[in-house]
């Protein structure tokens, strides 16, 4: 199962590592960390959103207990149900295209998240390749992500390669 967890960490060195350690210990596989220093709470804490894969509820419970015993403040826990996984490849002058915008924009689509991004740089003046793994909670959101992506690629003159037999 994929879990989304929001916690608030004190803004002192080592806090993030302290919070991540129990997840690794119970076999969790972290897929994204969003560290929002610019959105500090009134008490000066930094909100951190984690997405990680973990085997089952009992392991999640152990993770949460471990965080509690370390005085990590967890403000939100939720299981994310992503049923559609799509892999796409982008080809072109990708470094020039704003890859960060691309990921943020896909993540802003409801029920959709970029789980993995791999870049393979081409030689000088050669085109590069990027692979994105996109998770969605429904075919509709998966289609939305792909249709936004193909529009983006058209604008930036990137070649988008989708999977054969993608979402209907």
């Amino acid at each position: 199962m994929l879990v989304k967890l929001v916690m608030e960490l004190e803004d002192i060195p080592g806090q993030l590592l302290r919070a991540l350690e129990p997840i690794a210990r119970y076999g969790g596989n972290i897929q994204s960390i969003i560290h929002q220093r610019e959105h500090k709470t009134p008490l000066g804490r930094v909100p951190v959103t984690l997405i990680f894969e973990i085997e089952d509820q009992s392991r999640l419970k152990r993770v949460l207990n471990a965080l509690k015993s370390r005085n990590v403040l967890v403000t939100q826990v939720g299981e994310e149900v992503y049923t559609v996984k799509q892999t796409v490849i982008l080809l072109g002058h990708i470094v020039h295209a704003d890859i960060r915008t691309l990921v943020d924009r896909i993540n802003s689509i409801t029920g959709t998240r970029v789980m993995d991004l791999s870049l393979a740089m081409g030689g000088p003046r050669k085109e590069s390749a990027a692979r994105l793994t996109i998770l969605s909670d429904s075919d509709r959101h998966a289609r939305k992500a792909i249709s936004w992506l193909s529009e983006f690629c058209k604008q930036k003159d990137l070649l988008l390669i989708t999977s054969v037999g993608g979402p209907p």
Binding site: T87, I89, G122, S128, A129, R131, L159, I161, G165
Partner: protein, 335 residues
């Protein structure tokens, strides 16, 4: 059964050789006695209303000779031959022109109007005037077959229209071009760049000197138009196909695909709404993940769910399998 063969290039010669080789088989199994009463190319026509001598035909085919090398050949055009030579079936095997469909389009129309059954491998007339030709055949009461136009030896159209007739075909996915499949397969195996593998394919005679039709997906698009019209019952034109070729594919892209258990293939996809040719990620182990110059087609169906078929998509001998299949089918239908 008297046959007139228009076009004496690779496919015409391949057909002649297979007919000669299978003469006794065709008689034993189907009671068929085909006679080639004429072969025609742009140099002229060799005709004999009793049937040209098989040994002569095979010899000329083997020598890759023009028709003008036949004794007693006449300097007449294909249209004149169609109008003057008595026969039951015309094989239209001239090269494809997907812009005009010519000269094949004129040949097929003339033959139908003369009351001949027509079997063709030529994509051009089918891409340009599919519905018109189907209507004309119906109106003239003649049979019209074109299995060899898509998938070479693979009975793609027959499989869908006959054996899967009880299904609604929801989607057709196909690797329909051997040249691009060879290039992408080699790039995946060797990690070599596109230009280098293309040159290798040209040296091996797998790719043309001008590879545009293949690598830009034009050939695949033409085949997809035919499949959409013949199987999905649509009236699709070439310009309706969204098309992207393979020239931009890099070894890095294929490597990224591989890391997630995929490969990249040039795939044609047709549904009731869309017709598209583009490079696609294909999971290794998927029916379309075929190597070398192989072709593959995967049908999505309402009852059978999925049916796939793989085989050789080109080559004179392989394609003659489809031409012979059509010949036998026409003979059974009119018997």
């Amino acid at each position: 059964m008297r046959l007139l063969i228009i076009g004496f290039g690779n496919l015409g010669r391949g057909l002649v050789e297979s007919l000669a080789e299978k003469k006794s088989f065709l008689y034993r199994r189907f009671g068929l006695k085909p006679r080639v009463v004429g072969v025609v190319d742009d140099s002229g026509a060799a005709t004999n209303n009793k049937g040209l001598d098989w040994r002569l035909l095979v010899k000329k085919a083997y020598q890759k000779a023009k028709v003008s090398a036949f004794p007693n050949y006449k300097r007449i055009s294909a249209v004149e031959a169609i109008e003057s030579v008595e026969c039951e079936i015309v094989f239209e095997l001239t090269p494809t022109n997907i812009q005009t469909g010519e000269p094949g389009l004129t040949h097929i129309k003339k033959a139908m109007k003369a009351g001949r059954h027509v079997i063709t491998s030529n994509k051009g007339p089918l891409v340009v005037a599919f519905r018109e030709l189907e209507h004309l055949a119906k109106k003239q009461g003649v049979e019209f077959r074109y299995s060899a136009s898509v998938g070479g030896a693979i009975p793609v159209i027959e499989l869908a229209r006959k054996l899967l007739a009880g299904n609604e075909v929801l989607e057709i996915q196909g690797v329909l071009n051997g040249t691009t499949n060879y290039i992408l397969s080699r790039m995946a195996e060797e990690g070599a760049p596109f230009d280098q593998v293309l040159r290798e394919a040209q040296e091996l005679g797998i790719a043309e000197k001008d590879p545009t039709l293949d690598i830009e997906g034009i050939d695949t698009a033409a085949k997809l138009v035919i499949l959409s019209n013949a199987i999905l019952g649509r009236d699709v034109k070439f310009k309706d196909v969204r098309r992207t070729g393979i020239a931009r594919i890099t070894p890095q892209a294929i490597k990224l695909a591989k890391e997630t258990g995929n490969t990249i293939k040039l795939v044609g996809v047709a549904t009731r709404q869309t017709v598209e040719v583009s490079p696609k990620l294909v999971p290794l182990g998927h029916p379309l993940a075929v190597g070398g110059t192989l072709n593959a087609v995967n049908f999505k169906l309402d009852l059978a769910r999925e049916i796939s078929i793989t085989g050789f998509g080109a080559g004179p001998r392989e394609t003659s399998s489809s031409l012979l299949g059509d010949l036998i089918d026409v003979c059974r239908t009119i018997a």
